[in-house]
Symmetry: C2
Subunit: 489 residues, 2 copies
């Protein structure tokens, strides 16, 4: 049985151990690419289902654009191509062929199939979408254009890590076009809000929404916003981004519309996305030394029922009772673990690793007394209660679990958020991790120096930061708001 390295011993190994033990994902033989196994993929499906609804409720429609982007399209917006050039999977040929080599048949790329223009696998879809937007948008009546896409993306990352940074990942990418700058900014902030709310309410992940510094902006954006979360090793994780693209792409792709006065004008645009990285965030924000702890609202299994019997003749009856209980829990994601030849203890251990919120134990005595024992993955507490009571309270127990998980994450963040005014103190304390609310003058020089000296970066300038007179933690120049600085994934 797979052992999980304790967090305090080696957090990075703990992370990969948990993913393997819970069968969430696997490294594939393709460099930097992962296989998302059913248990991990099911979390992604739950995320998709909820978030897709919220994206549609806010007026967006799903569509699908090509995977392959002509190199020349990517180059059209200068900052954009610069940002992505170093990590592009490039398609150059369209055929393989068999050749004879040393008497053996070998398959090689057919040189005669070289493409006229190379194609890049989308690292993001601004350029291909905007090419179509230019065709579809004619008048103010066509605006706003609110499109979302669920897709796979390839960025040739050199250092990869399951879910957090992989050469290929899954995401949703919203792309919109508006008549005015104000509308684009409103959309950018609205979608950041949709993300924050989704992460807090469904992933039990408290996040800080804020603006990125100029240095950390998305390649081609006028302004980038992000939601930042704190992981249990004290590192920050950027959980989602929302970009105000200004008219940068509109000008590069000539997306113009006739306004109400008959004047031609360029549209104002946004893009925003979250990815399978969120699964990494769930693991890192909630997991413990026993394994995963999953928020009930996205857990593949919310309640696992383990029948407990010693004698073979008890088996049938207990399993029947377990399935009968499951049948009464319609609307919940329930699994009966009736595997034979496996002891209850081993099953408990396995479902703990997999982070199932509630475990229900059902033995001969429980069945006789119409009771169940309910074990809570978060508190570890076991409670015996009448079946009727459990059935009546199952939703409440799961909601409470969800709330407790969020509260625990919030409490952890409170305890690991530090308001400091001394650079020396910051340099010492950063070793222990956490969010640091510090004054910063806004200069890229100080930002760079801080990064060099502490490996910490400006995570964001929180939207709700209070006005407060202070001095830049690095250069002492005046500042009127604190920013969040942390080491990050």
């Amino acid at each position: 049985m797979q052992k999980i390295t304790p967090q305090e011993q080696d957090f990075a190994t703990w992370y990969t151990d948990v993913i393997e033990a819970a069968q969430m994902a696997d490294y594939s033989p393709v460099r930097g690419c992962m296989v998302i196994r059913p248990y991990g993929y099911s979390i992604w499906e739950n995320i998709q289902k909820i978030l897709d609804e919220k994206i549609k409720e806010t007026g967006h429609e799903n569509a699908y654009f090509p995977l392959l982007i002509p190199k020349s399209f990517l180059s059209r917006e200068a900052a954009h191509v610069e940002g992505f050039a170093k990590e592009c999977a490039v398609v150059t040929h369209s055929r393989l062929k068999a050749v004879q080599k040393d008497g053996k048949s070998e398959v090689v790329v057919d040189p005669e199939s070289k493409l006229e223009e190379e194609l890049v696998i989308r690292p993001t879809s601004e350029t291909i979408m905007h090419t179509m937007f230019a065709k579809w948008i004619q008048s103010w009546r066509d605006l706003p254009l609110l499109i979302n896409q669920w897709a796979n993306i390839v960025r040739w990352e050199m250092r990869t890590r399951l879910f957090l940074r992989t050469a290929e990942f899954l995401w949703q990418e919203g792309h919109t076009a508006h008549a005015t700058q104000e509308e684009a900014q409103e959309e950018t902030i609205k979608m950041l809000g949709v993300y924050s709310e989704f992460m807090e309410n469904y992933l039990a992940l408290p996040v800080v929404p804020g603006a990125k510094s100029t240095t950390e902006r998305f390649a081609g954006a006028a302004e980038t916003y992000a939601v930042e979360a704190l992981m249990r090793d004290g590192k920050a994780l950027q959980a989602g981004t929302s970009h105000n693209l200004g008219q940068n792409f509109a000008k590069a792709f000539n997306i113009q519309f006739q306004d109400k006065n008959g004047q031609l004008a360029h549209v104002w645009q946004t893009s925003w996305g979250v990815s399978t990285r969120l699964i990494g965030a769930i693991i890192l924000a909630h997991g413990d030394n026993q394994g995963l702890i999953l928020p009930p609202r996205v857990a593949p299994v919310q309640i696992v029922i383990v029948p407990i019997y010693k004698k073979e003749e008890e088996r049938t009856e207990i399993c029947k009772a377990a399935h009968a209980l499951k049948a009464k829990l319609s609307g919940f994601k329930v699994k009966v673990d009736d595997r034979d030849q496996m002891k209850p203890g081993a099953k408990f251990f396995e479902w703990e690793k997999r982070g199932v919120p509630l475990r229900v134990e059902l033995g001969p005595r429980d069945v006789a007394e119409n009771k169940v024992v309910v074990a809570d993955r978060l508190s570890g507490k076991k409670t015996s209660m009448p079946i009727a009571e459990f059935l009546q309270n199952a939703q409440k127990l799961l909601d409470q679990f969800q709330q407790n998980l969020l509260e625990r994450a919030r409490e952890f963040r409170r305890q690991h958020t530090f308001h400091l005014d001394s650079y020396e103190e910051f340099k010492q304390k950063i070793e222990g991790g956490g969010f640091f609310a510090l004054h910063w003058c806004g200069s890229a020089t100080c930002e760079e120096k801080i990064k060099e000296e502490t490996k910490a970066t400006i995570r964001c300038m929180p939207l709700d930061a209070k006005e407060e007179k202070g001095k830049c933690i690095y250069c002492q120049a005046p500042s009127n708001k604190r920013v969040i600085i942390a080491r990050a994934y």
Copy 2:
């Protein structure tokens, strides 16, 4: 306003006209790749939702495997690579870089980023999945392994056609491994049945399930089955396939398990898939000269409500009544078309093109009398009825529409299915299209000759074909069952 070419004038142009008029898809600037627009994508989402449920009900789990496959993996199964080599998008480099050329900056592929081994964008995922299966499967306890994936696929097709044949398309691909040959065969046929039932019940598309001839087998399969549908121009369309892979891949990828007796054995496998091609099938099987006709169970909009008013002062009241009606139709996909400055007639025309099953017209007199006029896209009939009656019968009307559409397609197929025994008669009649139930001796030579002389292919050997003594339509050798022959997409 976009005009639709009549079917009888030019069926192929009618098809692309309908897609454009209904805003379902668009050619992209990337060779052979399409953009699926929201109206088309929404049909795909509806297909996904229903089919995904059926795939899960039959015990399969979703997962996600890498887009990129090392060239050597693809080559491992000889027939497989031969089948796909000619249409592979090959990734050879991982970076772009800017260079100066004639005083201008240009972006080129960085030759230093050449990959050690080329990667192929998946044309199907047997090889990458089976690599992982070999790792996951150890014992008979790990079987059956039942995996499904929703993904994008690239096949470098030379002649492309929106939805029917595009370089990139979306699909689901099931991949399974079993302990015995019998189980694999059972799975192959079971999933073919899931497809048939889904297509008949949800897409109103009657299909013939049957086995493919050896020539038409999937590259690497032991046996290929397909469901074949008849389009309104008399051509057949392969709407889905299910393959019994035997042990071909298990041997190539060394997927072995320890059976109950402790013996090592290779697994038996299947794969099966349907794609965005189904959207093409819906258009081609049901559409008419006014445009699309959509089966209610997958239509993005089932009921469109068009407020009718002449005087501006009526507008508010009628629109209010339209939205009130929509509110009462919860559970249905309803759209109120309250666009101003567009005449009702133009709206009718547009929603007819888009194939919405029921149109509800609501004018001042209707509102005064608590009535609506309901127009049926299939029959073209308009009926006035009390609102209460419409609300009570909406589900029944849509079910009836779905049934009528299926019946119409069945009737069309009945009228265009010909049991012939004379090759001369067949050669004449094939010009008019249809399914031809003919005797065939089973030889590839006759199959090839028939194809050469008539452009028709053996679509399938129907599973339910009756035993019947006959002679091969081509060579007169004995045959005991009729096969379906047709010209096909």
